[in-house]
Structures are given as structure tokens and as C-alpha cells.
Symmetry: C2
Subunit: 437 residues, 2 copies
């Protein structure tokens, strides 16, 4: 499902304070972050470092004075309280984040490779300086995973995690399964559609998923995991025939990032293709979607599902971290600021008559010519547009069972049409009226 | 999947401090909370109010001095910092929570009816007293939903939420669909299995789901929603025939709690059965499982899935709230305590040879008698126990394609068997080796 940002609805500024932000990188994710934060006038960009200062940006009203070509200007700017790192890469990003933390700035990043490789060291520095280093956007785009794992499942020992954490390979495997394509054809299509890069190694050989499961395991098991220790096999050897055979046996094939921990051995963490039973919730995660399935010893099994990449989905995760940190800064003396619920008044609801729906209507009627025409007329009279009309067989008493599927109409229109249908001499009963999601 | 608590693995006490807890109610959820918190010696129960002080409790080492029959003793005890309300009901629970908040105590509750009806008032009081009122356990048991909605999706305008929030009705509808049962038979079975109560009204008529969607909407839309305003239809009128007809058209029927908001009208919030396309992620949520599907304007669509009820799943949610609050109390001067990541060192991983898996092996062999026996012998020699052996047809070159599915064995055993298989004169090639999740 496509995402589109509603700019009309902005959070009112608190008036009590402002948080000053700096950002390094202004590509896809950075642009998304900038757009999402336009709703938050209490958060003010002081400095944004870009590779090409002359490039036109897809955002409105950007103050050119904020732009610099030197990323170190951002992390050294005394006014910046929170640094957002969305430039990618490892070495320079690590130097920048290290300096930002040393300068007492909170840091938000979506850099999975950096966090997988150097997270432990950077987190230790952040804790020493009493600032936060958050990275929800580093794993599975916008899907809330890191915070739920850390906060909501805090009472659990995580026993197993199994994730579909790479959208490119999941798209390729889905197409191989649904269209019968071989790997090369599916990869080429993924590249044409922008789901795979020109050099797909990082995705199809499993390294991207390995970074992500290393990060998730480090959080779940509370011990840092070196991504280079993660056994990693990609999907290049999977054939359309494997997928068909697995299908006959009741399985789909997915690239699974797996992490298991037992009390008496080292954690078992790896990335490789797996047969997944069609009854497992991960089996239905298709195309570019990602999901993480977690088995905790108290909660049982839970799953988090959504888009694993993209400008706005990843920005959603990065901005969640920014808002969490900024809320703490805006309410300095509140012990647990992010967990304060404040409703702004109460709201009346739309009455059921005004709601719009598609409807499934089942009518039991006499099995005579013209009945379908009469039903169509009753609907048309009240503005109920029909998507399809199907006779679903004949009852034992000789009456017909007719199913109508409508387009989107109001409940009021539908109820008026049903009243008319009920009054028709050929109608025996309205068997069912069920709305369609 | 059944949940079972691993007691061996406890969090080390910090030594710096202790948080003092009181609990009202010691039934299913309360017992689960007590068990989960045994891992946290830094959290100490001071007082637990129960209906029947003589009843034997399913927990070890409970100090009888903690037990009282008077719940007001808990909320008035000066030593108690955090009150856990798991007694249920509305009137007395409301009085207790009000007094606890007024006395400056943080409150954690799993009481959906109370929060749906009086959440706004209680939250206002909590904010006034600068304490927290948290209620993750009130919606969908252990599935992380409230915190992710509040924190992880904070950057989004929520456009639509659709939830399967009642396990009883989902179990009934699943059985009607899979077994062809009518409503009454499915309800009776649910009652026998303990999934439905003797008086099932609250579940099957949709009221339970209405409380939950009222709570979720209040958080997502930041305006309190009165549960009595939620239009509510149950599943009593759904027939096995409706489910079959929907199935033919590509739909399943689910009891959906729906919340939609548009900028220019009142929110549309309701509970009723809906046709759900088989391609929608909610369609695969079966039996007693719950799920919430959320469409945000930045993140796109995400879904949270898991068990909606039960002793340990609900305790997982209640304890997540307790730990979040207590972490704040233990680290008083930390601005955002719950978002501090601390890894306790690093960990080596289990080597791939030592991991255990079930394996799917595809072998291309000469199509001669005895081949399957030879494969079986090669496996047996290395301790690889076979679950099944299937000939999946013959190749164009006259060779056979044989698929082996193994029981759980080590990777080392499997690789040794594969080496033997490869060396057999009848073996042409190992076509695939894929592990099974």
C-alpha cells in the first residue's frame, strides 16, 4: 500500500521550548525525515550536511543557510542537541557519530551496517556521556521492532526470533513462487522496479539480513553479536523447481534470519533460505514486506509486519526515535516522558448511517425472471452502485439465493435499498448483510 | 504455541535501589505477573490484596504477611510506589486507582472496561500528580500494541486501524470456516475448551472488542472515545453458509474492530463482522490469535500479531509496563531511562556444524531399484533420522528426483550424510539442501 503524507495536520507547538536538530545526509530517508518533521514546529533544523550543495531538494521552504558540505560542522555546532545520521557508510559515519556523542548530543541513525559492526562501542560511549543513541530505522524500515523488543517484551526471555528482513530477496522469492520465474528473471524484474540494486550482492547473498539479525539479537540477548560471525547463505541457488516441490509439501521458501538462544550454549544466529510451513504466520509475508516473528517465554509468539524500506516508512522509524528523545528534552523533569498519555478532549463519532462501506448482501428470492433486475433497480434508486450480482444456487424450497457486492456507499443508502428489496413481493428474506474491509 | 516460563535466568539486581510494589487481584493475570517478576529481585511486593485470603496460590515462596483482603490497604500503604490492578470490574477498581494516583503512586492495569470508560479522567489525574497510568495489558494480551502505537508510530497520522481483538469470536469463526460448524456448535466447543465463558455475551456481541478499539482510537487520535458510542454488532447472525459463499468469492469473515479518521469528519469507529480479502494480512489470523493492522500516513501498513489473552501473555504486557516505570524510578536522573541500551559484553555464536535443524534434501539419482534404500542407509550411518522420502517424478534424462525430509539433526551429521550420498555411484547431484523452520 502506497504511503502519502498528510501535511495539514500538525502537532501544536508547546510554546515552552524548542529542540535544535542537525542532520547528516539528505537523500531518500533524510528527505522523508524532513517532510515528516514539518508537522513539528517545536523541532528546528540548525544544520544539514549534504554531498552536493547545489542539488535541488524535494522539500518546500528549505532555508539555504542550513546547508553545508561538511558533515563535521553539524556534529560540532554548539546549538545542535540531536544529530540525525542518514548518510550511510561505515567509517565517516562512525567518526561523525563518535564526535557527536562526545559533544553530548543525542544521535538517531538508520545505519544498519554501522550499528551491527560498532553498536556496542557507540552505545557504551552514549551511556558514558548520558545521551541516547537510537536506531529503530536500522532494521525493517518503519515496522516497530527495536522499541517493542526492548520495552514491550522486556519481561520475556526471547527464545527464538525468525525474520524476513530483506525486501529484495522476499520480492524475488515471491515472484519465483507466484509466477514460476527463475532467479535471474525475478532479480532482473526487481532491479527494473527499483527493489534491487545494480549490484545485488548485499541483498541476495544475505549480508543485509545478517546485519539486521545481529542488531536484533544483541538487543534480545543483551550481548553484542558480531555480524561477521553470523553464518550466511543467500538465495542464488534456489530454483523454481525447489519452490514448486516445497509448495506440494505444504511449504514456501523464504530467506530467514534466525536467532535462537538456549541457557546452556552459545546463541545460534544465521541467515539462509528455509522451508516455512504455510500455516506459519511468516509464510504469508509477500513481496517487499518484512516481518519479525518472536517467541518469548511469557508472551508466546508474536509477529511484527510491514514495509521494510522506503522514504516515508524508514522516516517514520527515524522520526519516532527523534520524537522520543525530543519529548524527553522538552519535558526535562518528567521521569518517563514518552509514556505520558494526554488526550486532547473527547470526540463524538460519525454515526453509522454516515459511514461508507462496500457491502455483501445475500437475498433469498423467488426463482423467477426479472428478479435480478428488480434488485438492481432497488439499489440504483438509492444510489447504491453494484460491483457484481451472482446467483449462488437454489434452495431446497425452489427459491434462489442471490449475492450482491456493492461499490462504496453510505450505510444510510444501503439500508434504504435493503428496505426496498425487503418490500419486493419476490423477496423471501435478506439472508445476510456483511460489510467488506 | 504454549508458553512456559524459564525461571533459571534472572536479571541481576542493580544493588543501587529497590522498587516497592502493591497488587490488587491475584487471579490468572496476577499469578502470571508474580511469576514473571520473580526474575527481578529489585522489584519487591509489599502488599497483595485478594478476595479469598485462605485460597492456595500457584506460586512458590509467597510470604503470607503480604496478603490482605482489603484492596484499599494496598493503595494506602506508604511504602508502595507502584500499584498493579488486576482485579477487574469497574467501580471498585476505579476508586482504588483514583486513590492510588492521588497518593502519588504509579498504576499499571490490564482493565479494558475501566480504561475504555474512564481512561481520560484517570489519565488527567495521573498527569496532574506526575505519575504514570499504563495499560498495555488491556488490549490484545501480550501483543505489543499500545506502546508501539504511542511511541513507534508517533510520527504518523493514523488513518485506519482494523483489529481482530477478541480471541473467542475469532476461534468460533475459524472453526465455522475450517470445520463447517454452525455458530452454536462452535460456541459450545469454545466453551468446553475454555475459550468462551458460560455467558458469552461480552465476546460474541462485540462489547469486548468495542472497549479495546475505543482505547486504541483514543491513543491513535489523541481524543478520548466513549465506548458506548461505538456501533457494535456481534457474530450471532453469521452462518456457515455465509462463510462458504464468502470463501468462494475470495474472502474470510472476521469480527473486525475498525477505526478510521479523516481530517474533515468525526472518527468512524465500529465493531461488526466483515468480509476480509484472503490477500489481507488479517485474513490469516486464526483461532484465538489477535492482530491489529494499522495504516499510517508515513509508515504505510503495519500489523501486530499474537496471543490476545492468557496468564503469561497478559502478564508479559503488564510486566513490560511495570519494568518501564520501575526503570525510571531506579534511574531517577536519566531523562529517557527506558531507551538506554546496555549490552552486557559480547557473545561468541554457536558454529553452524553444531546447530540443529530439520532438512529438506533433493537428490538427483539414477532411477534404479535400491536407490532409496541406499539414501536411507547413508543417512542412518550418520545419525540422520528420516521423516519421509518421496520420489518427486523423473527428469527428462531418465534420472529420478528424490526428496528427503529429516527429523531434527545437527548440521554436522547432515553434512556427513550428504558427503556419503554424493559419493554413491547412483547419485547424479545433490539438487538442494534447505533447512526447515
Amino acid at each position: 500500500m502506497e504511503t502519502m503524507l498528510d501535511k495539514s495536520n500538525t502537532t501544536p507547538t508547546t510554546g515552552v521550548n524548542t529542540v535544535h536538530l542537525g542532520m547528516v545526509g539528505f537523500g531518500t530517508v533524510g528527505t522523508g525525515v524532513y517532510k515528516v518533521l514539518e508537522r513539528h514546529p517545536e523541532l528546528v533544523f540548525e544544520k544539514i550536511a549534504v554531498r552536493d550543495t547545489q542539488k535541488a531538494r524535494q522539500v518546500e521552504g528549505l532555508n539555504a543557510d542550513l546547508i553545508t558540505a561538511d558533515p563535521f560542522e553539524v556534529v560540532r555546532d554548539a546549538s545542535v542537541q540531536v544529530v540525525i545520521e542518514v548518510m550511510g557508510g561505515v567509517d565517516i559515519a562512525k567518526n561523525l557519530i563518535t564526535e557527536a556523542l562526545q559533544n553530548g548530543k543525542h544521535v538517531i541513525t538508520a545505519n544498519k551496517e554501522l550499528i551491527a559492526k560498532h553498536g556496542a562501542e557507540l552505545l557504551a560511549l552514549a551511556n558514558k556521556k548520558n545521551v541516547r543513541l537510537l536506531f529503530e530505522g536500522a532494521v525493517a524500515g518503519g515496522i516497530p521492532i527495536i522499541m517493542p523488543l526492548k520495552l514491550s517484551l522486556a519481561a520475556n526471555q526471547v527464545e527464538v526470533m525468525a525474520g524476513i528482513l530483506n525486501g529484495t530477496t522476499n520480492y524475488i522469492l515471491t515472484k519465483m513462487s507466484q509466477e514460476g520465474w527463475d532467479f535471474e528473471t525475478a532479480l532482473k524484474t526487481a532491479q527494473e522496479k527499483g527493489f534491487a540494486e545494480a549490484d545485488p550482492t548485499n541483498d541476495v547473498d544475505g549480508f543485509d539480513a545478517a546485519y539486521k539479525i545481529a542488531i536484533l539479537s544483541s538487543i534480545a540477548f543483551n550481548q553484542s553479536v558480531n555480524p561477521e560471525d553470523v553464518h550466511c547463505e543467500g538465495i542464488r541457488s534456489i530454483t523454481a523447481e525447489d519452490i514448486q516441490t516445497a509448495d506440494k509439501l505444504g511449504y514456501v521458501i523464504k530467506l530467514i534470519a534466525l536467532a535462537k538462544k538456549s541457557a546452556d550454549s552459545n546463541p545460534d544466529i544465521r541467515v539462509h533460505p528455509m522451508l516455512v510451513s504455510k500455516h506459519h504466520p511468516l509464510a504469508n509475508v509477500e513481496n517487499e514486506y518484512n516481518a519479525l516473528w518472536v517467541l518469548g517465554d511469557a508472551v508466546g509468539d508474536v509477529m511484527f509486519y510491514g514495509k521494510g524500506a522506503g522514504e516515508l516508512p524508514t522516516a517514520s522509524a527515524v522520526c519516532a526515535d527523534i520524537l522520543a528523545v525530543c519529548r524527553g528534552l522538552l519535558k526535562g523533569n518528567d521521569p518517563i516522558p514518552s509514556m505520558t498519555f494526554e488526550y486532547q478532549g473527547s470526540t463524538p463519532l460519525s454515526s453509522i448511517e454516515n459511514t461508507t462501506n462496500r457491502y455483501y448482501i445475500q437475498v433469498n428470492t423467488a426463482d423467477t425472471p426479472g428478479v435480478i433486475g428488480n434488485l438492481g433497480q432497488a439499489c440504483g434508486k438509492h444510489g447504491v452502485s453494484l460491483d457484481s450480482v451472482m446467483q449462488q444456487g437454489t434452495h431446497a424450497d425452489g427459491n434462489a439465493c442471490i449475492v450482491l457486492l456493492t461499490h462504496e456507499v453510505t450505510e444510510g443508502e444501503m439500508q434504504a435499498a435493503l428496505k426496498d428489496i425487503e418490500a419486493q413481493p419476490t423477496t423471501q428474506s435478506i439472508g445476510a448483510m456483511i460489510r467488506v474491509l
